[in-house]
Symmetry: C2
Subunit: 232 residues, 2 copies
């Protein structure tokens, strides 16, 4: 793998990321929402650099290296990183303050794993992707029950930014469905309205790739020649 890039000794947090990783995107969105200065280092996950283990023991992204803190710890796991940032940087708060609402939002993000799992199964193993839409149904119903434009209310918050990266990649699901199934605007009336709004959100736009860019990335990946540098 590549040598470790030289970065200024400025105490600024370093986000180890991959430009097309939806989990890493969660961390980018929250750092940008809170306007936390940081360096982004994009990793080639096919040929992982040897030094990555120093900042990410399981060799995963995202990893947030807090070089300004004592003993320079590194955080892993997207949701833990995001909760840390929300506690550390109170501006643009994302999680509700009420313990019960916090728990309910965290459960909702946990239940989104059924969507991410179905998505990955579809794009990596093929199959009919039959488990994807039933998992999305839960979020349509939740948005209807909450009765607000965003999952977090009148503005995007924790749930919105945690699940958005997979909706940004809907075109990828469509490509791998190969015409068999598709995002149905009749079935997802509330999510469709949410997508209209959140696509224009300035935080989302701060780390946005177009459907075409995502498709090019996934086609290089499908061809066994993943291009990590498309937007780097």
């Amino acid at each position: 793998g590549s040598p470790q890039p030289a970065l200024p000794d400025d105490g600024v947090p370093r986000l180890y990321s991959m430009r097309f990783c939806p989990y890493a995107e969660r961390a980018h969105l929250v750092l940008n929402a809170k306007k936390v200065p940081h360096h982004s280092i994009y990793i080639n996950l096919t040929e992982k650099p040897e030094w990555l283990v120093e900042v990410s023991p399981l060799l995963k992204v995202p990893a947030l290296h807090l070089v300004g803190e004592k003993s320079q710890p590194s955080l892993i796991e997207s949701v833990i990183i995001v909760e840390y940032l929300d506690e550390k940087y109170p501006q643009h708060p994302l999680l509700p303050k009420d313990p019960l609402q916090r728990a309910q939002d965290k459960i909702l993000v946990e239940r989104f794993n059924a969507v991410t799992g179905a998505f990955m199964k579809l794009v990596l193993q093929g199959g009919d992707g039959a488990d994807l839409w039933p998992a999305v149904d839960i979020f349509e119903k939740e948005l209807e029950q909450r009765g607000t434009p965003y999952f977090s209310g009148e503005k995007p918050g924790f749930v919105d930014y945690m699940i958005w990266p997979w909706f940004e990649r809907l075109c990828v699901a469509d490509y791998f469905f190969k015409g068999r199934s598709s995002f149905d605007k009749q079935r997802y009336v509330k999510i469709s309205a949410w997508l209209e709004l959140i696509t224009k959100d300035e935080v989302v736009q701060s780390h946005y790739a177009t459907p075409e860019q995502h498709l090019v990335y996934w086609k290089t990946r499908e061809a066994g020649n993943t291009n990590y540098d498309l937007l780097a």
Copy 2:
């Protein structure tokens, strides 16, 4: 499955549990640590009751039904339940207040999934269990680095109660190893000292099963005739 038990209309939280489930044990320990009054309802996970879906949409335990709250929500996922209880009931605080330390403790509990995964693989699928002890090594090293008797300092806290249930079941691992491998007190000097201490902790003793009881449970499970009622 069994009919839903009649419970008093007292607004007291209801913990849906299984007496030998290590994840449910996490919730029991924290409710007991904080002396939160609650009802415990033990579920037969082989013949799940039809009404379980109302309190646990994925039919998992633990589920904490908050009947005293508006719209009577139910929480799932052991770590989310525990974080909720720690925020809602400030007595006997479990997680550190500092955001960075909180994140580091949550990452440690997340990394414990390598232990729980190796444990379940060993007891359900057999094999040589070779991935169990390397996963435990991380916790020996962490305890040494922290230099305190418990992971959370001078008293047991979040990390201690989250990982203890699997250490309570060490005899089960030994049984399924069938003599091939075993917990090594030389390799785990720090964890051995921690085990001596935490086994005597009054919270741990409040929801404790002996090695013999765990073994009887797992032998009935191995025989395809799981006895859920041993301690109910």
